[in-house]
């Protein structure tokens, strides 16, 4: 593995950070009363991106020894990494400003928030293109990968935000049911995208087929089926669907409404779901890097 666990963690954190920013912006608009969700999303977003960037610096050995060299990262416009560096810079500035305003309890500038939204999406897309443009690794070199990364970024972003929110305020989960619906949709989309991607790449390319079989039935199959599919996708999909169904029922009776409002219901389920989604998001990126079989050139 030329790019290993550290880069997988970086890709995961960048997507998670972008997703948390989008979640908080959505919550701010749709649920002004769910202050915890907005607060948490806005706060963890720049922190997680910062941790991701630190990992990246640690992995770039030559730059670590001579940090001034990182300036050159801004110089090659034909490199996706350079373009991503610009995206992340703008995203970080907007996210840090908004987190600061949130802490100071001041109003945020709308314009900065929109800039943040645009560059959060750009950051999530770029993490997919970063490896997607590599022709030398056919498993990555598909148009589906950036889409998958964006879906997964938003999904882990929701998970991270909801997990911390639920710890801080267990009632809040029941205020933001449409976020749960979006989350469920994203998780189902992720399942479809993953299998479509494997199907297409493995039928068109020998190296990709090798990668896919390493994941589906070879050395990474346990991590894939148990870690990603069962824990990261099926369990959250099942719990999320059940919760949505239950909450519909709860809201039909006055007693149910009280249960929902007191937050005594479903907090454990939320914690399990969101942690599972986060684990799945990391495993997805780790698997894609670990099973990267290069083009066979002989």
């Amino acid at each position: 593995m030329v790019w290993g666990t550290i880069i997988a963690a970086y890709l995961f954190l960048a997507g998670l950070s972008a997703g948390a920013f989008l979640t908080s912006s959505y919550a701010a608009r749709r649920y002004p009363e769910a202050k915890t969700v907005r607060f948490v999303g806005r706060l963890i977003s720049p922190i997680l991106m910062g941790i991701g960037l630190l990992l990246l610096i640690v992995d770039a050995e030559a730059g670590l020894k001579d940090p001034l060299r990182f300036i050159y990262l801004f110089t090659n416009f034909s490199s996706v990494m350079t373009i991503g560096t610009y995206f992340i810079s703008f995203f970080m500035m907007a996210a840090a400003y908004i987190a600061l305003m949130e802490l100071l309890k001041k109003d945020t500038s709308k314009i900065v928030e929109y800039v943040g939204i645009i560059f959060a999406v750009a950051t999530a897309i770029y993490t997919g293109f970063l490896i997607g443009v590599i022709g030398a690794v056919p498993l990555w070199n598909t148009a589906i990968l950036p889409i998958l990364f964006v879906v997964s970024a938003f999904s882990t972003g929701i998970a991270g935000t909801m997990l911390v929110s639920a710890i801080m305020d267990k009632k809040v989960v029941h205020m933001v049911m449409s976020i749960k619906k979006i989350h469920l949709t994203l998780l189902v989309a992720e399942v479809l995208l993953i299998f479509t991607m494997f199907l297409i790449t493995s039928s068109t390319n020998e190296s990709a087929a090798q990668s896919v079989s390493m994941i589906l039935s070879g050395e990474y199959s346990i991590l894939f089926w148990l870690g990603l599919v069962v824990v990261g996708l099926i369990v959250p999909i099942a719990i999320e669907a059940l919760e949505l169904w239950n909450s519909k029922k709860l809201h039909h009776t006055p007693a149910g409404l009280e249960v929902a409002a007191s937050g005594s219901h479903g907090i454990a389920a939320t914690m399990i779901t969101e942690s599972a989604v986060l684990a799945g998001g990391f495993i997805l990126r780790y698997l894609l890097l670990a099973a990267a079989v290069p083009v066979i050139f002989l």
Partner: protein, 178 residues
Amino acid sequence: MARYGMVIDTRKCVGCYACRVSCQMQNELPVEESYIKFYEKETGVFPNVKNEIIPVQCQHCEDAPCVSVCPTKATYTTKEGIVLVDADKCIGCKYCMVACHYGARTQDHNTGVVEKCRFCAELVAEGKQPACVSTCISNARIFGDLDDPNSEVSKAIVKMNAQPLRPDLGKAKIYYVR
């Protein structure tokens, strides 16, 4: 302006590693690190099998993917078509290693810089041959100007119908006789 390239005749290569050792000496590499890798390939069906030894190093691609992905412009192509790494600009992000079709790059863990075959640019500038070429015991390697039809390398390519390893992966400047 010259455009440097090389022919490697795998039919002559005996796998003695002399080129690799001279390359390591020229580039002051430790024993475990090298810019030339050896691959073996068996073709045909028994009893008509052919065993090939194929030395592979940086192919000095035209439109090299390592050059276009390198975010710092540390990797660049010279006017003579040699792909080089500026060790003072490289941050060691390894994007070029991931992008190279031939696995031709290695990271020096002392400096963190990613390096590879440089066609011995400093020797070539003095009009000499790269170390691997002058060391090869069986003359399996020919180096010279691809743009000059009268150069030894150009004539060899035509005469022996030498081909890049994988023309479909982009134009390379090392041609193989197999």
